[in-house]
Symmetry: C2
Subunit: 454 residues, 2 copies
């Protein structure tokens, strides 16, 4: 029986379009999180929407689960094929289908990464600014509604998408939108499939809004004595109306970690990192006003990056913080991803630091403070069940507190496996509606089963 669908796949695809090699099964068993790896039975490499339709047909007829795989940079296990079956790797569907600089639009296949995309469009003065840190695929970023450091200015993935091409479980191929910048026609399926983590349909094409590259960019940083002061300062910058392009918080512990990792020489204090961008005089005026406001709040170590090299170095350091934690021999990392109304941030960051201190574990707090979103990075020894429980407890308490504060258990990483347990607390009666939608679109639970819902 099992051989039957594998044989069908092997007949349908070219020889190099599938693999059951040990190394490929391993590569597709995990992402960057600490969720338990599970291997697929086979990895397929579609090269077109037609390939996806053909694979889906075989999967449907044999009731075999299909789990999409982008770059494997997810943080909640979304691409782990929990119920085995087929891992659908999009690395060969990485083309620009249509680039329309005159419309500030680009249509891409899901396997293109954000850096690949930017390398093509930047020379036209355009950018795709969403930046989750990792060089994730656009498909993966769409599936998880990713965001990152620039969301404070440009919004999240969902805000960038005007149209998706989707393959449904029943083989229907559909478009969720048009190429118009806005529309009030029909139900908003684009927003629904975005962030659905491959559980409602398989994304085979994405049309994104593009943005001009600002004429001038200024990076700056400063430090405060406490995380609480950082959060209050960020809150005040937001209220001032300065349209920051990035505004990031990193606690002293995480700064020390990244200094060790990359020799950055940053002041080892609780820090805010800023980017101001726009026309030259506007960016300069914004930076000057921010400095004035932050100085009034007793910031220290205010520094404007001297040149584009130093600016790049600041953001490289910020992005490497996630990796700095991961490079501790013998330690596993678990991370939280809470997001709350901005006025609740000082309280929640204090609570996070308190939980980490009380646990006896080592960990940092850092994140996209301009959105009210921050992460914990907690290091634990996976061979020590007590440490593992302590690490999990920190994130659990933090998630429930975020929900109490009218926030969310996941600002940008998605639900995947790790945030399933908070869905009832966060969404209440809406969970039943979500489950009904899953049931309606995927009645036999073929599409990334085991994610979002238990």
């Amino acid at each position: 029986m099992t051989n039957h669908w594998r044989n069908a796949l092997q007949k349908t695809l070219k020889d190099d379009q599938y693999s059951t090699s040990v190394s490929e099964l391993y590569r597709h068993s995990h992402d960057e999180s600490d969720h338990t790896p599970v291997e697929p039975e086979i990895v397929c490499f579609p090269e077109s929407t037609e390939d996806v339709l053909a694979i889906m047909k075989i999967a449907r007829e044999a009731s075999v689960p299909v789990t999409p795989f982008g770059s494997g940079s997810g943080l909640e296990g979304q691409s782990i094929p929990t119920m085995h079956g087929i891992s659908l790797n999009f690395e060969r569907m990485n083309q620009v289908v249509k680039f329309s600089p005159e419309d500030l639009l680009v249509t891409v296949q899901p396997g293109i990464t954000r850096l690949q995309l930017n390398s093509i469009i930047n020379r036209h003065g355009l950018q795709f600014p969403i930046d989750p840190g990792a060089d994730a695929t656009i498909g993966g970023m769409t599936a998880t509604n990713a965001s990152g450091t620039t969301a404070v200015r440009y919004g999240v993935m969902r805000d960038q998408i005007v149209d998706l091409e989707i393959v449904l479980a029943d083989g229907t191929l559909l478009h969720t939108g048009t190429k118009a910048k806005k529309s009030s026609s029909g139900y908003h399926l684009t927003g629904l499939f975005t962030g659905s983590e491959g559980t409602l349909g398989i994304i085979t094409e994405i049309t994104l809004k593009l943005h001009g590259i600002p004429e001038h960019t200024i990076a700056a940083s400063c430090t405060f004595e406490t995380p609480h002061q950082c959060a209050e300062a960020a809150h005040m910058i937001l209220l001032s109306g300065i349209p920051v392009q990035r505004m990031e918080f990193v606690d002293a512990y995480s700064i020390a970690k990244v200094n060790d990792y990359g020799n950055y020489g940053l002041p080892e204090k609780h820090s805010l990192f800023f980017e101001f961008a726009g026309m030259k005089s506007a960016a300069e005026e914004e930076a000057a006003l921010a400095q004035e406001l932050l100085t009034d709040m007793n910031c220290e170590n205010w520094r404007i990056a001297a040149d584009s090299e130093e600016r790049a170095s600041i953001w490289k350091a910020r992005h490497e913080m996630a990796y700095a934690y991961r490079h501790q021999a013998g330690m596993t990392i678990t991370g939280g991803d809470v997001c709350v109304p901005i006025s609740k941030l000082p309280e929640l960051i204090d609570y996070a630091r308190e939980l980490i201190s009380d646990s006896g574990l080592q960990g940092g707090v850092l994140g996209h403070i301009g959105d009210g979103n921050f992460h914990t990075s907690i290091a634990y020894d996976a061979k020590d069940p007590k440490q593992q429980l302590a690490a999990e407890t920190i994130n659990e308490k933090l998630a429930y507190r975020a929900i109490e504060l009218e926030g969310t258990c996941t600002g940008e990483h998605g639900v995947g496996l790790g945030k399933i347990k908070y869905q009832e607390a966060e969404h209440g009666a809406a969970v039943a509606i979500m489950k009904n939608m899953k049931q309606m679109l995927d009645p036999t639970n073929l599409l990334n089963p085991g994610k979002i819902f238990a």
Copy 2:
């Protein structure tokens, strides 16, 4: 049988919370469009979510349709109770439930209008910028995913909403989101109910993002010889990256109409109207750069409003254009609402002017050119079937051409009654999914029946 549910309503509500008076039935039979009026059997005025739940229970048990009503300023007949039953007027649910200036958030009941809301929040330096022209209710604007002149800067209604409270047909009360600025948790029900025109559930509370009032605002205008040149100029301004706050096109015909109506003394040529806003130096730099670019394209009559009074007068004129057309004795107005990728605009505007000229009718073309969205306003004598057919044919041809150009039949007015016929052409296979969602959430078709789908 009929008396039974009416009696139940009358027992449940206070005496002044329902009406069957001739004037109320008439008021709730139409909106500002030319769609055929239909009267409800009764108008109810809920004062709380509990009232809505109670009314819905009675409606469900008696299988009576429920059609929400905001301010009656809709343009596609969404609030017309096509199948009679109950008109649910939200004018008494017009309170601010919670204003959190520190979080740049406000939670409101659906019956509050955008001007009522702004009068409360403006004094805190905050604004709710979405501006469809009419003083619509926030509930109505949410239900139709309205936008208007500021969408080019702030996005559409859907972009402003973090949470909705919804009463479903089966009596379930749910929240679609949280108060966090962003989230990747669960399916995006907020986006789905926004723009669903009361067909999937009844909106009883809306939480909106707020924006700071810019420090400085500059209004400007200029004229060109042809609509085509206006569209090309708008396209070029967008590509330049100047973050205009408003950018509107009005053809010469419509300028003449509004001059007649309000004595504005505007140059009777094809015109662009701009607003630049932000910190003072930034707004001035943007206006100067725009002037330079537009002058290179041979614009005429460049004028910056001398003071806030002249600025207000410009936007008052722009908003009154819709009404200027309506105030022609004996004439009915029908309007299109197409939206296409910005590079297709010059072609589509030319096509619209050509269709109007060929028809022998009088009509204007005007709209939110920065979004690729524009409207036609065609005057016809409703007593003359030939004229009516000619007017409808213009909008029909325009809508189909917009869809061919990868755009939408409705940029911001919604589907309602008038755009049903384009749903298959625009959405294809997705229409079946939308119908399934309607069937799932409202199996007995109680909620605003006859809208969006035939």
